[in-house]
C-alpha cells in the first residue's frame, strides 16, 4: 500500500462503494497522488525534501500555534474543573447544614404554634385539639403498650435450603400485617422504628429495602404500639402473630412481643396536601360541647399500614 498509493485511484475518483474499507486501506489524501501525477504529466521533476512555499510556511506556523493554544487551553481548564467540583461539594455540604438548621427551626416553630394555639383556644378546645392530633398521628404521644420486634435471621443462606421455606428475612408484608393487627387489637398509636403511622402511611418495598412513608427503615424492626391493657393478649392471638411465630420457627428469623411501659412515639410529619386547599377562614367550630366527652381517643382501626 505504501509503495504507490492511489495508483488505481486516478481512474474512478470519488467515493468507492465501500467508503470505510477505502478509508482504512488508503488513508492518504488522494490529492497528493493527483498532484504527483499532474506534475509527472507536465514533466516537472518530483520535488523531494520539504519544498514549502511561503503560504505553506504560514500554514505550518499556524499549525504549531494551534497546537500550543489547544495545549494552553486544556491546561488552563483543568483547575477550573477541579474548582467546580469542590465548589459543588461545598454547596452540597452547606445546603445540608441549612436543611438541618431549618428543620430544627421548623420544630421550634411548631412547638411555638402549639403553645400559642393552646393559649388562644383555652381549656377544653385545646384539649380536644391535642387529642385529635394524638389520635391522627400529628402529635407526640406517650403511654404504655407493646413492642413487637422482628429481625432478619442470621446469614443469607435462606435460598440454599430451597423448597417451600422462604429466606429468613422480614418482608414488608410482615410489617404491614403486624401493624394492621395491632390496630385491630386496639392500638391507638403505632410507630415502626420511630416512624409514626398515620391514616395515610404506607409500608412498601423498594427492591430490598422497606419504605415506611417513603423513608427507608432497616432491621431489626421495632413496631411500638400504645394501647389498652389487654392489647398484648389480643394481639398474641391475632393472625399475624400466629403466622409470624410459625415463620420464625421455620425460617429462622426472630419475632418477639413484649409489654413496654412509658413508650413515647414521635409525631408524624405533617401530611402534604396536594388537592385540598385551606379555607380562607379556618374556623372549624365544633357544634356543641358534648362531643369531647365521647370516645375521643379511639383512632380508626382502618388507618395505618394498609
Amino acid at each position: 500500500m505504501s509503495d504507490d498509493p492511489g495508483q488505481g485511484r486516478r481512474v474512478g475518483r470519488g467515493f468507492t462503494p465501500d467508503f470505510l474499507t477505502e478509508l482504512f486501506s488508503n488513508p492518504l489524501d488522494p490529492g497528493y497522488a493527483d498532484a504527483a501525477a499532474r506534475r509527472a504529466k507536465t514533466g516537472q521533476p518530483a520535488r523531494s525534501g520539504w519544498s514549502v512555499g511561503p503560504v505553506g510556511l504560514v500554514v505550518i506556523v499556524l499549525l504549531g500555534f494551534l497546537f500550543a493554544v489547544a495545549y494552553r487551553q486544556t491546561v488552563a481548564e483543568e483547575p477550573g474543573r477541579a474548582q467546580a467540583r469542590s465548589g459543588l461539594v461545598a454547596q452540597i455540604k452547606q445546603r445540608q447544614g441549612e436543611t438541618d438548621a431549618l428543620s430544627a427551626r421548623a420544630d421550634e416553630l411548631r412547638e411555638e404554634v402549639n403553645r400559642q394555639r393552646e393559649a388562644a383556644l383555652g381549656g377544653s378546645r385545646a384539649a380536644r385539639l391535642r387529642e385529635l392530633e394524638a389520635s391522627t398521628g400529628l402529635g407526640r404521644v406517650h403511654g404504655d403498650g407493646v413492642v413487637v420486634e422482628l429481625a432478619d435471621g442470621p446469614g443469607g443462606q435462606g435460598s440454599l435450603n430451597g423448597g417451600d421455606v422462604g429466606p429468613a428475612q422480614v418482608i414488608y408484608l410482615d410489617l404491614q400485617s403486624v401493624a394492621n393487627d395491632l390496630w385491630g387489637a386496639g392500638a391507638e398509636a403505632i410507630a415502626i422504628n420511630g416512624q409514626r403511622l398515620t391514616s395515610t402511611s404506607t409500608i412498601r418495598s423498594a427492591g430490598k429495602a422497606i419504605l415506611v412513608d417513603f423513608r427507608p427503615v432497616t432491621g431489626p424492626y421495632e413496631v411500638a404500639a400504645i394501647g389498652p391493657r389487654g392489647m398484648r393478649k389480643r394481639y398474641e392471638s391475632s393472625y399475624s402473630a400466629l403466622t409470624m411465630r410459625k415463620v420464625a420457627k421455620v425460617n429462622g428469623l426472630s419475632f418477639a412481643v413484649r409489654d413496654a411501659d412509658d413508650l413515647t412515639l414521635p409525631a408524624a410529619p405533617e401530611p402534604r396536601l396536594r388537592y385540598a386547599e385551606a379555607a380562607v377562614s379556618p374556623s372549624v367550630s365544633p357544634s356543641g360541647g358534648g362531643e369531647s366527652s365521647g370516645s375521643g381517643t379511639s383512632p380508626s382501626p382502618s388507618g395505618g399500614g394498609r
Binding site: 505504501s2 486501506s25 492518504l28 497528493y32 505550518i60 499549525l63 497546537f67
Partner: protein, 110 residues
C-alpha cells in the same frame, strides 16, 4: 527541516502570546486540533512517499479544519450534540492511524 522549524516557531509563538480562546470558539478547538493532526501526518507521509505537494497540504489543512468546524456547528444546531463530532473524530482518527502506520513503515522498514 525548515518546516519543522516553522512548526516549532508556531508552538513558541502560541506559548509566548498565550491568547485566550473566546468561549464561542472553544468547542471547535479539539476538533480543529484533530483535523490539523490529520493534515500534518498526511503531509509527512506524502513527503516520505515523495509526492508531497505544497498546495495540496495547505488546502487539505484548511478544508479539514473548516469542514470539522462546520460539522460540529451543525451538530450543535441540530441538537445531536457531540455525536456528529464523534464521526469526525472517527474518520480523522482512522486516517491518522493509517498515515502514521505508513510513516512507521517508511522509517523503520517494518
Amino acid at each position: 527541516m525548515i518546516a519543522v522549524l516553522a512548526l516549532l516557531a508556531g508552538v513558541l509563538l502560541g506559548l509566548w502570546l498565550d491568547p485566550t480562546v473566546p468561549a464561542a470558539l472553544q468547542p471547535y478547538l479539539p476538533i480543529a486540533v484533530v483535523a490539523a493532526l490529520d493534515a500534518v501526518f498526511g503531509g509527512v507521509r506524502a513527503k516520505l512517499d515523495r509526492i508531497f505537494d505544497d498546495k495540496q497540504f495547505v488546502v487539505s489543512f484548511i478544508s479539514n479544519v473548516l469542514v470539522a468546524a462546520l460539522i460540529v456547528y451543525l451538530g450543535d444546531q441540530l441538537g445531536v450534540g457531540g455525536q456528529l463530532s464523534t464521526g469526525v473524530v472517527v474518520v480523522l482518527g482512522v486516517r491518522i492511524f493509517g498515515n502514521v502506520a505508513a510513516i512507521r513503515r517508511h522509517l523503520f522498514r517494518a
